[in-house]
Structure formats: C-alpha cells, structure tokens
Symmetry: C2
Subunit: 165 residues, 2 copies
C-alpha cells in the first residue's frame, strides 16, 4: 500500500514523463561544476541557483558539509571532469540548533541506538562555517589542482544567494 | 572575477528572488519524508519526483548511497521529525563504471593525493544496489522505529521512476 508521499511521487512523475525530452544528456556535467548544499526542505537548487538539467552535480547533506561530501566531490572531479565547486549554506539551518550531545540524547530518548563516535557536525556561526569549509577544500591535496572553489549563503526568507568566500 | 557558472547563478537567482513568496516555510519538512538520490546532473528531484518546496529533505551523493547519507538521515529523522525514506538510484549511474582501484589510479595520475582507505562505493548491479541499501537501512538500529523505507529506480532516458524495493 503506497504512502501519501509515494502516491504523490508517482502521480507527479507521470506528468514529468509526459513532457520529458532530455533523455540524451551525457553523464558528465555539461558545465563542469558541482554544487554542495544542505538537504533543507526549503532549498530547490535547480530553481534557486539556476541549474539546468545536465549541467552540474548537486551534492546535498545536513549542513551542506564539505567533509561529508568528500567521496562525492572526488568522484565528480577526478572521474567525471568537474572543475568548479560552489558551496552554499543557508540561513535558519538546523545545524545551528543542536550539539552532538543533544543529538545523541534525542536518539537515545527515541529508543534508538546512538551510533558510536559519530560527529553530527553542527556549527554555531554560519558565515564562518562557509569559510571554514572553503578553506578545508582549498587545502585538500586530494582535489584536482586548479579547481575553482567559492562559498555562498542562501537566505530561506528571501530566496537570495550571495557570495561570502 | 566571477566564473561563467557563478555569473549564471547570480543572474538566475535574481529572477528567482523576483517571484519568491515562500519565505515563511517551517524548518522541519512539512510532509515528514526524506529523499536520498544521486548527485547525477541529469536528475532534478523536485521536478521529477514532485517535491514541493518545504515538503522533504533531499540528500544527494555519488550513487544515492544510504551509508554515506547516514549522518544526514539520523538528523532528519531524530531532530527534524521525518518518518519516511524514499531512496532512488538511476540508470546510467557513474558508479557502475569504475572500481576503487580505477578511482585511486585516476587520482594518482591527476597528480593528487589518493585518500587513505576511502571506499568510493561503486556497484555493479543497479537493482541489487537499491535492495541492499534498503535492507541496510531497515536493519539499522539507529533509525527511528516505524520509519517507512522504499527503494526506487529513475530512468534518465525517459524521466520515469518505478519502485523496486
């Protein structure tokens, strides 16, 4: 029995298929860049950041975290030819609202097993978190050399994005 | 000096802001679900899977990998109240095209440092990879109990999605 969300997925996908005409796009991103951003429900990267289908890899996780995205970034660069990283964090991020101790205690309270030594990677200063991720990427010897790396902030209140690093 | 991709981002974002009227959405996903899918440039989850702004977390990485998404999934469930996981892998995935040895040798050839013991998590059978991730999630004691988990395949050739697990 399909859930409400599964039913909506199937119904909306049927409409998507009816007008779909991009079946021959190449595997490597045409514009040779990748975007790292947050999983937050209030961000639609394609619409907000103007990414056309086939143009860029989009990596999303809690916080738009560069370290967490590392495996994907290396694959994108070294195996699929991207040469530019656009990292976008956002206002009102959930990662600003809890500590590792808070996360562990909620998981325990929910009756689930607290994973051993997992860093949930919360942060307390948004702009510093962008700068710190950009610096970490720039200093990382595993990335391809000459990759362009920039850091941005997205405002969930206005839809506006601005460069900060 | 902004790159072409940065200039397009700014230009398209200006248009997005001009008609943006969703500045008051809540932080937790309204429809209490999360989507895990691939970073592949040929996937637009919001459009293809019918996700309205504010409705769902979207986690993306190379391969739509559940283990890689673990930190984000725990945060989504335990701290932001989602209760359903929709995992979508896709045809023509880059993860079907290389081995860990291949990845390491390309990184080395590019003059970059091969990261120690990094599993790039490629796979050789698409449908089995979906099933295996769904099983891994269902057996994982750190997830909240009673979470609905389903596995899907997206066809980049047609835009169609179908449930496989």
């Amino acid at each position: 029995m399909a859930t409400d969300n599964q039913q909506k997925l199937l119904q909306k996908n049927k409409q998507y298929v009816a007008t779909f005409d991009k079946g021959d796009l190449a595997l490597p991103p045409a514009k040779k860049y990748l975007v790292v951003t947050c999983m937050d429900a209030r961000i639609d990267p394609a619409a907000a950041f103007g990414i056309d289908l086939g143009d860029a890899h989009v990596i999303r996780n809690a916080g738009g975290n560069a370290k967490d995205a590392f495996r994907s970034i290396l694959i994108s660069e070294h195996l699929l030819g991207t040469r530019e990283i656009v990292l976008v964090k956002h206002t009102g991020c959930g990662m600003l609202t809890f500590s590792n101790t808070d996360a562990a205690s909620v998981i325990e309270k929910n009756g689930s097993k607290v994973p051993h030594a997992l860093d949930f990677q919360p942060f307390s200063d948004l702009e510093k978190a962008v700068e710190s991720d950009v610096q970490w990427l720039k200093a990382n010897g595993s990335l391809a050399s000459g990759v362009e790396i920039s850091g941005w902030l997205y405002e969930v209140e206005t839809g506006e994005v601005r460069q900060v690093a």
